[in-house]
């Protein structure tokens, strides 16, 4: 267990951190290239600024969605805030960074009770999100198996972290939970650039690329019909 923990904290953590950083950067660059290539093919060369801004802000601050799906939006926002703030501003994590990578932000860390409560809130928000996803027919139909899995994986480090910091004192159990905590954190880092968690960096870009590449010329449909040789036929 000790070895596994050290491995998870040492080489695996460095690997996952490097993969996350560089992987997100890679996604960023790749989608930029995709966007410019889409521009090359698109008949309308103007940048759909307003559209992209509207969509992106819509996702970031879903004010409009409050009207249609109030519970979902609220829980989602809480989940996101907790998910970003708790791990980033935890003192122990700042310590981990300063020890293994060399820079840190220990000055602005959260106090322990705040962090603990925030973690609890995040866990509940995550569970509610999962339940909402399971209960709603629409979301269930567009969810793949892994979509549930990612959500669970995201919640695991919060549960184990909370257990470590507030529940257990017995060393053996503590270590077990800590190992699971660190391992799941590493896996989140590794999977982040390759799964839908990557929306953290892709959010504005994907809107941009989509807006560019899916903007058809007027009468595009008729042209396709012409090319296919099915002009005038019934659809």
């Amino acid at each position: 267990m000790e070895d596994l923990l050290n491995f998870a904290k040492g080489p695996l953590f460095r690997f996952s951190f490097a993969v996350m950083l560089l992987g997100l950067l890679r996604l960023f660059v790749l989608s930029l290239i995709n966007g410019f290539e889409a521009k090359k093919k698109a008949p309308d060369k103007s940048i759909p600024k307003g559209y992209v801004r509207k969509l992106t802000w819509g996702y970031l601050f879903p004010i409009r969605a409050f009207r249609t799906k109030p519970i979902y939006s609220l829980v989602s926002i809480i989940f996101h805030i907790g998910f970003i703030l708790t791990p980033l501003l935890l003192y122990s994590h700042a310590l981990l960074f300063s020890e293994s990578i060399g820079f840190s932000w220990m000055g602005i860390s959260l106090s322990k009770p705040v962090a603990d409560n925030l973690a609890l809130i995040t866990i509940f928000a995550g569970i509610i999100l999962l339940l909402l996803r399971l209960t709603s027919k629409i979301t269930r139909s567009i969810s793949r198996k892994q979509d549930y899995l990612w959500l669970l994986l995201l919640v695991v480090p919060f549960i184990t972290g909370y257990v470590c910091s507030a529940v257990v004192t017995e060393p053996a159990t503590y270590k077990t939970f800590l190992t699971i905590h660190v391992l799941s954190g590493d896996f989140i880092f590794i999977f982040m650039p390759f799964t839908k968690i990557a929306h953290c960096i892709l959010l504005p870009l994907s809107q941009w690329v989509t807006a560019r590449s899916w903007k058809f010329v007027p009468e595009a449909g008729e042209n396709i019909e012409k090319i296919l040789g099915k002009e005038g036929q019934k659809l």
Binding site: G10, P11, E37, E99
Partner: protein, 630 residues
């Protein structure tokens, strides 16, 4: 996947590893990441990246000379690729050099601070100028893609007009720095093996660079043709190989003539590492290529032609490595430690080479470097999208490649970054495990098992509120702690003032001894250390059995360890002071502070900070003489 794509994938992986290694090199410095040392200050990066790289790029000026000066127009079809190789080769040289230099951000100093007598100065200038010339020579290939842009086409016109002067200038500059790389080693006849050191080293370097240039063009052409599945220019390469025959023969005569005239012939048939390297080098450089190039039956088979040229390339690169470090005195004799590059050095070199190769492929694919462009890999997708849930369609080949290569790059970087352990690479000396010094701070990080992750410990609280004596934790814990180096407590053990030199005995270049080869293991428990040295420390005589001549009568003293100078000095003065103070009651009244430390060390804090031995008494009157044994 096509050949070229597989190859590019490998290059991207190497590049990822090299990026991780390169970052480490710049953060932790040269000592931690390379195997360079005071005995071998130049290593693989100079031997291969710089000297090998410059030699490998010689094809540019050789082919340019044949094509433009000697009027051999048949070489025109390969001249662009040769110039491109040379240009990228020089860029790679400069990038490699940036890793090797201790202060790479000062590389521009060569432009303003001049020392014209230094060969390195001349090499630096020539490489800078030649890089510019090569850039101008290659520019038309890039510019001709934009015939509509007015300014660019104008530049293109100018460049094509001044092409001949540029080529001549390129040849002049190449002559200079190819040979000056040899002049670098003229000043160190004491370092190089006599089979390599020669007053005509510059000439040897120049001639071998031309040979290498010809053979490198063959290798480069055949390799890229193989990768892109195109017909290579068999006629031209055959002609090149015939020219190479004469040059190689000339090189052979030059090399042996030089060795025999200098009188170094006696080293040709020794059973030594240097001689083996020499014959290996010559076999690769001259004998194998000559046999293949002379016999027409072999020469006409592409495989053999390739083998011959490749062997020549390896041979001359080996020559550069030999001159650059392999055959130096420090490597061949016991007077220095054997140098072999660390994997970080090798991976950075490999990364620089793959970067140059990737750039080469980029230019080949996007500009008309060859007479015919390789077919656009974007035009016909190799895999048609199938709407199958288990199959991920990454797009047409170009897009798919982009995705795959960058993925491989990221994973390779991550793996290499994980393997290069930041903490342990930091120092190869004795302070491998840093201890967080307490110094009475409020809150400390205690790193109990020294894995780099500390635990908060309220230090002041333990001392002030719970009233635990310092010694309870500190002095008792240390000896049991196996990870703490001895000098953490015995901080005087490496001082130069001691008669016994701990550093010589423990360092890798010295006796390379473990502590417990001289000290008994119970030292670890701190038992009876003071006053009973003989019981736990081995006598010097046990190892140095030739310390005393055989005919001498030896009386072993009870305390055979010499005092450190600090201790000796203290005993000389303060013991006497103490005795007088104890004996003389009058003195006790008139000078009560006679035996205080502050008499000699008025400011102890300043003393420890500035390493000043005495602030009051500047003149050191006392000298402790180690007993002469005769």
């Amino acid at each position: 996947m096509e050949r070229i794509n597989k190859f590019k994938l490998v290059l991207w992986i190497i590049l990822g590893i090299a990026l991780a290694a390169g970052i480490t090199r710049f953060i932790f410095g040269l000592g931690a990441t390379t195997n360079l040392s005071d005995t071998t200050p130049w290593g693989f990066w100079i031997g291969f990246d710089v000297m090998g790289g410059v030699a490998l790029a010689a094809g540019g000026f050789v082919i340019a000379a044949f094509n433009y000066i000697f009027g051999r127009k048949e070489f025109h079809s390969i001249s662009r690729a040769a110039i491109l190789t040379a240009f990228l080769g020089y860029v790679a040289v400069v990038i490699g050099l940036l890793f090797d230099l201790g202060l790479p951000w000062n590389i521009w100093h060569m432009i303003i601070f001049w020392n014209p007598h230094s060969p390195l100065f001349e090499v630096g200038w020539c490489v800078m100028l030649y890089l510019t010339v090569l850039f101008l020579e290659f520019m038309p290939v890039v510019l001709e893609r934009f015939p509509n842009l007015h300014l660019l086409s104008k530049i293109h016109k100018v460049l094509t007009k001044i092409r001949i002067p540029l080529v001549v200038l390129g040849i002049m500059l190449s002559t200079l720095h190819q040979s000056s790389l040899g002049s670098l080693f003229l000043t160190m006849p004491y370092r190089l093996h006599p089979l390599w050191w020669s007053p005509i080293l510059p000439v040897i370097f120049f001639v071998s660079a031309i040979c290498l240039g010809l053979m490198m063009v063959i290798v480069e052409n055949m390799t890229s043709s193989y990768l892109y599945k195109r017909e290579f220019e068999e006629n031209i390469l055959g002609k090149l190989s015939r020219i190479a025959v004469y040059l190689l023969l000339f090189y052979l005569v030059l090399r042996f003539g030089d060795i025999i005239i200098r009188g170094a012939g006696i080293f040709l048939f020794q059973a030594s590492w240097g001689t083996y390297l020499f014959w290996l080098e010559l076999a690769l450089t001259v004998f194998i290529p000559l046999i293949i190039f002379i016999i027409p039956k072999l020469r006409k088979q592409p495989n053999f032609l390739y083998l011959g040229a490749l062997s020549g390339v390896f041979g001359i690169v080996l020559n550069r490595l030999n001159v650059g470090g392999l055959t130096h005195l420090t490597n061949l004799t016991k007077s220095g430690s054997f140098y072999f590059p660390s994997w970080l050095e090798l991976s950075i070199s490999a990364g620089v080479v793959s970067l140059a190769m990737l750039a080469f492929f980029y230019f080949i694919e996007n500009y008309s470097v060859w007479d015919e462009k390789p077919k656009d890999i974007d035009s016909e997708p190799l895999t048609v999208p199938k709407f199958n849930t288990n199959y991920v369609y990454l797009g047409p080949t170009k897009t798919a490649n982009r995705v795959k290569f960058s993925f491989a790059f990221v994973i390779a970087f991550g793996l290499a970054f994980a393997l290069i352990s930041g903490k342990h690479i930091y120092s190869k000396g004795f302070d491998k495990t840093p201890v967080y010094k307490a110094r009475g701070g409020d809150t400390l990080l205690i790193d109990g098992n020294r894995n780099g992750y500390g635990v908060m410990f309220p230090h002041k609280f333990h001392g002030d509120s719970i009233k635990i004596a310092c010694g309870k934790c500190h002095h008792l814990n240390k000896p049991k702690d196996k990870n703490t180096q001895c000098f953490e407590c015995h901080n005087d053990m490496y001082l130069t003032g001691d008669a016994f030199r701990h550093d010589w005995h423990t360092s890798a270049q010295g006796a390379n001894l473990n502590c417990f080869e001289c000290h008994k293991h119970n030292v670890n428990k701190g038992e009876e250390f003071r006053g009973n040295m003989a019981a736990i420390t081995k006598l010097c005589l046990k190892c140095h059995n030739d310390l005393f001549p055989a005919d001498v009568k030896v009386k072993i003293l009870k305390t055979y360890v010499t005092l450190s100078y600090t201790d000796a000095m203290h005993k000389l003065c303060i013991n006497c002071h103490k005795e007088r103070l104890a004996a003389d009651s009058l003195l006790r009244k008139s000078k009560p502070g006679l035996a205080l430390c502050s008499n000699c060390h008025p400011k102890p804090a300043q003393y420890s900070a500035e390493h000043k031995l005495f602030t009051k008494q500047n003149v050191n009157k006392w000298v402790v003489v180690p007993p002469r044994l005769k």
